[in-house]
Each structure stands twice: as C-alpha cells, then as structure tokens.
C-alpha cells in the first residue's frame, strides 16, 4: 500500500525498491561471492547445482544445507547459485554453469518467477544437463515435453495442509465453536489454496462457525491489529484462530497474550518456522506445517542425479513422478519436540535414494 502513496508523488521511482535494496546492502552483499563453489576431486561425476533466491532467509539457507549434504553423500562437486530475486541473474548464472561444466551437471532450481523455468529448461536440454524445478513454472511447461533432460517438477498443494490445520483446531475445541481466520495476500496461489482447505474442513463440521475471515497479507503487524479488532467484536465467541502462515499465527498469539488469553485459544500457522515450532512446544500454538526445505534442496538434486547417472529413465516414469506434489510435515504438540530435535537442533537424516517417497499425487492445473 505504501507503494501506491509514494508512486503517486514520484512516478515509477518506488518500483526500484528491490533494486535499491540491493544497492543499499551492496557493501555487505559484495562480501559474498555470487557463486559459492566447493571444489572436490570428482571431475568426472556431474556437478550438482542448486539455484535459489538467497541465503539470507532460513528457508533457502536450509535448502542449501540439504543440497550440500546430498553432494557430500555421492562425492560430487556442489555449486550454489543465488538469484537475489533477479530473474536475469538467475538464468545467466545457470547458463554460465552449463558452459563451465559442458553440460555435465544436474540443476535443482526454485525459479525466481514462473516464466524463468522455460529458458532454464531449454538451456539445460541444449547443453545435455538434467534439471529439476520446484514451486514455480508455467502451467503449460511439462517435463515430458523435454525428455529426458527435464526430469521433474515438484510443488506443494496448500489445500490438504490448510485443511489439516483447520482440523487440528476443530479437534482442539471439541468440534464446536467459532473460528476466525487470517489469510495471506488474496491473489497468491498458496493463500488461495490454504483458504480452500480451511473451507473444506469447515464444510465437514457444521457445528464450527467461521466468525470472520480477514486478509492480513502474510504480515504480523496487520495480523495483530485484525486479531485485536476481533477480540472486541467477538470476545469469548472466538474459540480458535486459523492463520495462513506462521508470522500471522504468532502475531495472533501476541494479541491473545496482551488480552491474557495466550495458550487458552488454539492457534495454527503454516510454514514450520523455528519460532512456530518453539511456540508449539510451549503450548501457545496448536500446529503448523513444515515444507522441509532440507529435503527439497537435497532430493531435487538426487532425482536429477539418478536420472543423469542412469539410475532411472525419466521418459519411462509415470506422469505423477514427473510433476508431483511433495509432502509437508504436520507438526502438533505430539511431534513438535521430536521434529525440533531432528530438524532444527541437529542436521536431519535423509535417505537420498528414496526419491519417490514423498510423492502425494500429480499436480493439478485448473
């Protein structure tokens, strides 16, 4: 919203926000090389490459750790490419690594934006490299149209997890009561999917009433204000709060705390950030869903690596192995401590050969 106000006074200047943000931290950013390379001895093995947005958010930092762990397990060279939110840089870096390795590489990429996937896949096919994409790609770009180089695309559906969290709440309040819900940015696909899951759970439980649904734009600040207003409007009618991500869920907990009700009203989030898992252990949050970026970073490479080294032939795999939804980990009070110990306090243990272990169905495009 701030963009609207400023741009009215200054034309398009504010559009450069991201660019300037980069320039602002140039001093710091330049300390990090764009390509962090780790040289090993195995030059004949394909180099494994992760292309991600940045190393400054916990999600992609964990993704990178998973990639490094997989590379170590097979003794391959490991390269991390960072787009810093810049699509051109992301594509150019991938082309550079294709040229450097002569196509003897496997790329696991979280494209900065959906359209980026096409030039990346085309460049990889031309060079003979193998590629796995995650989260973003155009709906009409399919792995089976680029056999065998485009091995797979992995995404996660928000519907079952939005529903699972709503079910957790409904169970916690004994199947009866009023729920308020905090949604993400209205046009975001994950926000739409998670809300759909919530609605499915509510439809199956007629005794639970959705008192209100507000859009808090994934923001903790907005979630805090909305929850405060709800506490006035509905007071004790609120028996549970559903939030589409952890930031908003934790803000709702803080609003409840200021009202002396933290821990008494169950709240759920989604994303599985560390603070949320800790809050579940403390009994202030009822649940969240972890997407397991460690798995994404390592398994994306493993799938591509096994295809490249002849472990399986991508063109002979069924379509639900080529474009599939991965599995999120549902965290509640029952498993929060175990999850924390295994995934946050320590390096997770993974079987990198179990490449189809988390397939939960072919991706549906509407």
């Amino acid at each position: 919203m701030d963009k609207k106000l400023i741009s009215s006074a200054s034309g398009l200047r504010i559009r450069r926000r991201d660019l300037l943000k980069g320039a602002g931290v140039l001093g710091i950013a330049s300390a990090f090389p764009a390509i962090i390379t780790r040289r090993a001895f195995a030059a004949d093995k394909p180099t494994v490459v992760n292309s991600i947005r940045s190393l400054s958010n916990p999600y992609h930092a964990t993704w990178n750790k998973g990639g490094a762990a997989f590379a170590k397990s097979v003794g391959a060279d490991y390269v991390t490419l960072v787009t810093e939110g810049n699509s051109e840089k992301g594509i150019a870096d991938i082309k550079a690594i294709l040229a450097k390795t002569g196509g003897n590489c496997v790329i696991n990429v979280d494209p900065n934006d959906s359209p980026d996937a096409r030039p990346i896949v085309e460049a990889a096919k031309a060079a003979g490299a193998y590629v796995v994409t995650q989260w973003n790609k155009p709906a009409d770009l399919h792995p089976w149209d680029f056999d065998p180089n485009y091995v797979a695309h992995i995404s996660f559906s928000g519907v079952p997890y939005g529903k699972a969290m709503a079910d957790t709440l409904i169970k916690a309040i004994g199947g009866k009561g009023g729920i308020v819900a905090l949604g993400g940015i209205e046009s975001n696909v994950p926000a739409i999917e998670r809300k759909k899951g919530l609605e499915q759970a509510l439809a199956a439980n007629p005794d639970v009433k959705l008192l209100d649904y507000q859009v808090a734009n994934w923001s903790a600040t907005e979630a805090l204000d909305k929850t405060n207003a709800w506490l006035t409007q509905f007071g004790d009618q609120i028996s549970a709060i559903w939030a589409a991500n952890d930031d908003m869920a934790l803000a709702a907990v803080e609003a409840l705390r200021a009202d002396g009700r933290a821990g008494k009203v169950p709240v759920t989030g989604i994303d599985g950030i560390q603070l949320a898992v800790e809050a579940i252990q403390k009994g202030e949050l009822a649940g969240t869903v972890a997407w397991d970026p460690y798995w994404q970073g390592g398994m994306g490479l493993s799938i591509g690596y096994q295809a490249k080294t002849g472990g399986f032939d991508p063109s002979k795999e069924p379509k639900d192995h080529r474009e599939f939804y991965g599995k999120g980990v549902i965290i509640t009070a029952d498993n929060a401590k175990a999850f924390y110990d295994e995934n946050i306090a320590a390096e997770p243990k993974m079987d990198w050969n179990d490449i189809w272990g988390r397939v939960t169905g072919q991706i549906q495009y509407e």
């Binding site: 701030d2 609207k4 006074a9 300037l20 602002g24 190393l55 916990p58 600040t221 800790e278």
Partner: protein, 333 residues
C-alpha cells in the same frame, strides 16, 4: 502534493497560520468524531473500554513514528526511512536484550543503545541531505533500504524471540488499564509538543517550512536545523522500533513492513501540509486515531477484506480535501 507558493508575512518570526482559527483545521477532529459515531451505531462494542485499550495499542506505534515524521514534513521535507530506522532498531534491540538467540542481557542500556542507533540513522539522513544537497526524498529512500538491508544482514533472514520481561512488559503489563507502551507513546507526544512549542528548534522548523530562504536570511542556521530534525526523527523511529519489537515479542527484518504508509497517511490526514509550515504534532495524533479507528472499525463493521484498502484510500482523499485551505493556494502540483 500541493505546493504553497505565497510567502505570507513573517513566517520566520511567528507561525501565525498555526494560531489562526480555521474550520478546516478542525476538520480532522470532526471526521474522527463522526467516524466513531458511525462505527458505534453499527457495532456498540466499539465504545467499550476493552476496545479503547486495543485502539490505543494499535495507535501507539504509528503515533510515535508520526511525531518524527511530522517534524520532517513541517520542515517541508519528506522522510521515507521510517521502516528502515524502525526495523534496524527492533532487530538490534532483539539482539541486545534477553533473547532466544544469544546471551546478551543489556536491558535498559540496550534500549539506550538502540535510541543512539536511531539517532545515528537520522543524523546520516540529515548530513547526506544537507551537505551533499541530495533531496530528502532520495536520501531517506536509500536509508530505508540500507536500514532494512542491514537488519537482514544482521539476522540472515531469521527472527529472534525477545524474552526480556522489561521489553515484553511494554506490551503486556498495564498501568491504569493501559499497556506501558501506550504511556511511552504519550510521553513521546508530550516531548514532541514541548519541542514544537517551547524550543528554538521547534520554532525554526516552522520557519523553514514556511519559507526557507527567508529563514536563512534572518540568520537561522538552516543546515543545522535540518540535521537536528532528522536526528530527532530517527530517535522517534527507534522508539517505534522498541515498541514494535515489544508488541510482537520478536525482531525480524519484516517488522517494519507497511509502517511508512500508515505514518505518512496519519500525518497528512491529520492536516499537516506536505508543503511544510502548517500542522502540528497534535494534529498528527488526530490523524493517527482516524487511521487506526478506521481499520479497527472496518473489521467491527464487517467490511469485506477486499474493499477495506479502497475505503482507506477514499478516507485519505476525503480527509485531506476537508482540511486543505484553498484560499491560500495558487498552484497545485
């Protein structure tokens, strides 16, 4: 944005316009009262003490930020570094007081250090703006990203939980029914009022906003006043950062997102002119309350989420339209 071109007599000596009785300058207050009335009619819960406390909680941060921004806007400049200063302050605070990531426990000293950091950010704004003669718009835009970027670099994208009872107490502990943070915000308002009305700096700020060339000719150290004002604003943003960290119980690089919009909106809706020279911190208080009551009220009245942003926009235009003094304007840009 409107630019007032006429230089009325003697702005450097006395802010005559501020004292002049105009119905327009009461428009924001009338809007606020009307707004409260309408919301109460639709949902009587609005006027309960509990909701009053919640509105004050929602208003405390915009109010403190608005104090800093008011001075800058009175001077005829603009400060876009609100989110940068706030985010950096909140993040540094979360690392200095008792927290979930390291062993620090500086307590009040940590808060003081954060205020100094805030002053430093503001001082940098002022010096770059005055000495390098770069428009405040660009300097503070840059500083916004520098602040958020530095916070990001400090945390590496993580969030730090604050466990210090002193800081958390600002949001949770209460005095006379209101959280301590609200009293801190009121203290800031009092300080800002004193600075505005009873100090040389306050008078000079009005003089600069009214007509900077005249002010310079009458011997006011224009550059120094500007630097000092930006520094002062930086301290207010740091206080805002402390309150934001206290309220959410954590510091992360996204904590300031959306604050700039609320702040500038509140200042302008309160009737302070973007062209400088007209307005006051008390008007900003009214502006903050309008913005906060409106967003609280829209939830209470059940306005659909997709319509809320639009209503807020209309409200801004309406409030500014009511409070503008058209007689004294020749050119509107």
């Amino acid at each position: 944005m409107t630019i007032e071109t006429s230089i009325h007599p003697g702005p450097a000596a006395r802010p005559a316009t501020r004292r002049r009785w105009r119905i327009a300058s009461w428009a924001p207050l009338i809007v606020l009262v009307l707004l409260c009335g309408i919301i109460t009619l639709i949902n009587p819960n609005f006027l309960t003490f509990g909701n009053l406390v919640r509105i004050s909680q929602a208003a405390m941060i915009p109010l403190v930020l608005g104090m800093g921004a008011t001075f800058i806007i009175l001077m005829g400049s603009i400060d876009l570094s609100v989110e940068g200063g706030l985010t950096l302050s909140a993040v540094i605070l979360s690392m200095l007081v008792i927290n979930g990531a390291n062993e620090n426990a500086f307590g009040l000293l940590g808060v003081l250090l954060v205020l100094i950091v805030g002053a430093g950010v503001g001082f940098a704004n002022g010096v770059i703006h005055v000495r390098l003669k770069i428009p405040s718009f660009m300097v503070t835009l840059g500083m916004w990203f520098v602040g958020v970027g530095a916070a990001n670099a400090l945390l590496g994208g993580m969030a730090i939980r604050i466990n210090d009872p002193l800081i958390r107490g600002l949001a949770i502990e209460r005095f006379l029914g209101f959280p301590w943070g609200v009293w801190v915000a009121l203290l800031c308002l009092a300080i800002a009022l004193v600075i505005q009305n009873y100090t040389r700096l306050g008078r000079y700020i009005y003089a600069l906003g009214g007509g900077e060339e005249l002010a310079a000719l009458s011997g006011i150290p224009v550059g120094r006043v500007r630097i000092l004002t930006f520094t002062l604003a930086g301290v207010f943003y740091a206080v805002g950062g402390v309150l934001a960290a206290a309220q959410l119980g954590l510091g992360n690089a996204q904590i300031g997102t959306g604050r700039l919009f609320t702040t500038i909106t509140a200042v302008v809706v309160g009737g302070t002119a973007l062209s400088g020279g007209q307005g006051s911190v008390l008007q900003t208080l009214v502006g903050v309350l309008i913005v906060v009551v409106l967003s609280n009220g829209m939830v209470l009245m059940g306005v659909p989420p997709s319509v809320q942003i639009g209503v807020q926009g209309l409200m801004i235009i309406a409030a500014v339209a009511l409070s503008i003094d058209r007689k004294r304007m020749r050119i509107v840009k």
